[in-house]
């Protein structure tokens, strides 16, 4: 069986032939497309390390069969920065010490980007913690992660206000 899909990954169109419908988006990114920034933690949708943005929404790439995604827009951690300029969420994670070992960090950052776009949490720490509960951090850097999401939310809102003015 051969399935052809076209994905736009970090802005670049990619035509991909899948020999097997079992391939998840996570394995496709890491093993076939040389994008290992997205991490495999539990591989069962419980830890969030594999979080990427698909068609504007954060998803667990480990539970997403690549064959279902023909035509989709995918953003991974590799696609967040603009050249050498980090995304505001990446900057905030550095400034607020939002990580220790770093393994869960790409997933945390992509999840935060998705959460901020959803507009669900604002800068309320309780709502941020609830909104980020699909991302486990074994080093327990949760305090810094919450501060980073708060700061990035504020900074992105200010930047948007600046653009509008």
């Amino acid at each position: 069986m051969s399935l052809s899909i076209r994905l736009t990954i970090n802005g670049a169109p990619r035509d991909i032939a899948l020999e097997d419908a079992r391939v998840t988006l996570l394995d496709l990114l890491r093993e076939r497309l040389a994008l290992p920034g997205t991490k495999k933690g539990c591989d069962r949708g419980q830890c969030g390390a594999c979080t990427v943005i698909v068609n504007g929404k954060r998803v667990n790439s480990c539970l997403t069969l690549a064959a279902t995604l023909d035509g989709a827009q995918v953003t991974t951690i590799e696609g967040l920065a603009t050249g050498d300029r980090l995304h505001p969420v990446q900057e905030a994670f550095i400034e607020q010490d939002g990580f220790q070992c770093g393994y869960c960090t790409p997933g945390q950052i992509m999840s935060a980007v998705g959460l901020i776009a959803e507009g669900r949490a604002g800068d309320d720490p309780e709502r941020i913690r609830e909104g980020m509960s699909g991302n486990i951090c074994r080093c327990a850097a949760y305090h810094g992660i919450t501060l980073a999401v708060q700061e990035a939310t504020r900074r992105m809102a200010e930047a948007e206000k600046g653009d509008a003015a």
Binding site: T24, G45, K57, T64, T68, E118, E126, S133, G134
Partner: protein, 341 residues
Amino acid sequence: MKPFDFVQPRTVDEALAAWEPGAAWLGGGTNLVDLMKTGAVQPAKLIDITRLPGLDTIETRADGATRIGALVSNADLADDPGFARSFPMVAEALLSGASGQLRNVATVAGNIMQSPRDAFYRELDPPSDPLSGGASLAVLGTGGRFAAVNPSDFAVPLVALDAVVEVRGPGGAREIALADLHLPPGDAPGNSTALRPGELILALRLPAAAAGFAAHSRYLKVRDRTSFAFATASAAASLRIEGGRIAEARLALGAVAPRPWRVAEAEALLAGRAIDADLFAEAAEVALSGAVAVGGNGWKIELARRTAARALAMAAAGTPARMPALPASPFAPQAGDLIHA
């Protein structure tokens, strides 16, 4: 994961024609793909229904009756302002389930069809002691057999509001009351529903009467941690209050039975009475009166009783102004804008 054939039909007719024994419908896949990874489920063919047209809309009639397409995501339904205003406890239940990532993908039909979370259902080689662990063992509606609780939060308020499931299959179109969707446990601990082979859920429907409870509706979920965990006990409570008295009540419990557990006896007890904490305790007592502890989970019966009484009190206090609120926490104050403890 075992190899499988993969097809992407473009119409419902094509999808129904593609079905054959051993095939499975693939919606969001958050439950199915996980079960396929462990080998607990091994479909020979996946029919990807996510490209089917017209199944991703929410339609509300002038009288409040609402039809939710099977492919609407959990997040999109909870975030729909009109839906959350009319059915606040449904939005609250949706947002108390899973994680942000999973809710973005999981469909409403997949939510009510999700399999029990006990290891017996989830692993290729289940533990020899089926249904181990009291938290997932049903205490009501088992007919004296071992059974795992239904894990859905969403289905609990839906069953309280008389939701109906629209299906189509080889035998044509029909409707199934959500209360009748999950079958009582048989001889083996199974996960059987009233769906016949080859039937596909097209939509969920809430009747007009369900929209009359918006001012006093809550879903309260108790679990081992504050977020991203299945319920150990939950309750959906709705009251229609007229002149300080309860004109009509709805009460359903979650994580206690193999199906979302509506308690008509407790509803009947509440109707026509004045709001009163002792009354809520009495109704909760009635709701759990037939419960039997299994595998040392007597704690679940007491927890469910207190959860039901608390949910009724929270509903009486009124739906929070900001909806969807954070999922209701048992530690939060009972009135006003709820926050987590």
